[in-house]
Amino acid sequence: MPIDFLYPNYEVVRDQSRCITCRVCERQCANNVHHLDKELNTMFSDESKCVNCHRCVSLCPTRALKIVKTDHTFKENANWTGEAIADVYRQAGTGGVLLASMGNPKPYPIYWDKMLINASQVTNPSIDPLREPMETKTFLGQKPSKIERDENGKLITKYKTPQLELSVPIMFSAMSYGSISYNAHESLARAASELKTFYNTGEGGLHKDFYRYGKNTIVQVASGRFGVHKGFLESCAAIEIKIGQGAKPGIGGHLPGTKIVGDISKTRMIPVGTDAISPAPHHDIYSIEDLRQLVFSLKEATEYKKPVIVKIAAVHNVAAIASGIARSGADIIAIDGYRGGTGAAPTRIRDNVGIPIELALASVDKRLRDEGIRGNVSVVIGGSIRNSADIVKAIALGADAVYIGTSALLALGCHLCRSCQSGKCNWGIATQRPELVRRLNPEIGYKRLVNLVTAWEHEIKEMMGGMGINSIEALRGNRLMLRGIGLNEKELSILGIKHAGE
């Protein structure tokens, strides 16, 4: 047997005095970490298989289990960290590209945490959301550039361009059926429907069972065009052209043939067992003019009734790209930051490509305003929105709404073990194995999503009230409500905010 250079990252610690050998850990671990030794009537674990997903920990009825990071270590080296060394061992062993999932976990700066929110004192008094009406509703889509009146001189208040009406400025970001399970999709769809917001099919088509959630569905058209047909486009509230994704800007996607089974094959409209390869670029888009053609093809196909979103990854020239998109006829731009999640991406790309969403958002909003085309589009951002404060900051920086993906999955039970690519998600989310998918009961899942967004909505109202603002649209782009902390001049200037104390 060749030498295994890799030492397990985690240790499964079992308090044998508490273990009642009920074997729930064994039954619930798709990685076969636990087993009962019948002779000794004792549970044992093989931590080399553990991905630290906490399924066993969460279900253990006597809390006999915990997972800890191993203290096994290489000789201290600030440059050659244990992780760097282990990656070399891995690739020397396999010769393959390292794969990873979920968002970039590296310790890059988190700008959300370097911005602080204002509150009113004495003058311009704060508003108590428990006593006063507080509006979190927002509309996404092109806005008229001037005030228009009818023949009687009355204001025309109805939008002429299609709009998405959100009761809260929070939508569920694109996650395909295939990358996540049927039950995860159902949970998202039901939650979006109850919350009067939207979820997004990702590039996997729309399962026939979910057409009934159509008015809360954004369907995605991506480079592989999987699952795109007339009924699909007509079923939805809006269409999203996916150009790029924050976790893997510049590259396409690859769902292996082994996962193209049953309903997934039908929904994607490709034969069972064929690899679903989404090319890196759209082969018909090499310019903004090409993009415009696709935008209008889709509008034409849906009789100009549905807003079209163009989603891009936050990359170096994001402001210029956004400017182009705003002129392409698209109604909404979605920008995905470098911490955005994924079901599978090459590790090096996930961890090293793209830019922080906070900076991208600030520069896009500024650029569009400078060019006088901010009203052409709404701006939606995603890529690691972790809480309601992140949302308030995003809106103050200029976003119309946010996409949440990772937070939504966390609400569904995801423990961020970052092993989606294995297809053995113990929480029934990133898997297609029926016995694992079953673990996510949408009845529970959708309520947890509704709870999360409802809780955030309350908090957003509290923070808005504190600032003396009673409408989310009045907060948009209101950068005076933000102050930086511990940021240098350049960062402050890009974010367009003052430093705390200024």
């Binding site: 005095s17 508490r18 273990c19 009642i20 009920c22 074997r23 729930v24 039954r27 619930q28 009537n41 969460s58 279900l59 009825p61 006597t62 029926p434 016995e435 079953r438 673990r439 009961n441 009845e443 529970i444």
Partner: protein
Amino acid sequence: MKRIYVNEKWCLGCHLCEYYCAFANSGKDDMVKALKNITINPRIRIEEHNNISFAVSCRHCEEPLCVKSCISGALSVNDGIISINQDKCVGCFTCVLACPYGCVMPNDDGVMQKCELCTKNAGGQPYCVQGCPNKAIVFEER
């Protein structure tokens, strides 16, 4: 009347219901103390086969054959809940012969036990329902 309903679509075969049942009826206040080194004898049981699993416990039938068949008068219906007076039971197994769902079984002392919806222990929602992680077992009025 509120009953326990099982939806096999959501059953994970984790067997936690059995352990919560055994704990609830152990009379002990701590699960470890109650179940450590014990082979449990729960009143709810999981059936498993080919990736299908579901829990089975007393249906509290409206026409309870077990009660009608009980030769000692130990089984009776009280407010719709079929309960057993273990003091009267002699362990004749006629209820085992009669129950169409196989939900009456002997306890460790040879007299019969069955699900009594946790009305004789701590009360509240039945423990199997509380212990089910996936709402495969619910306690509802239907």
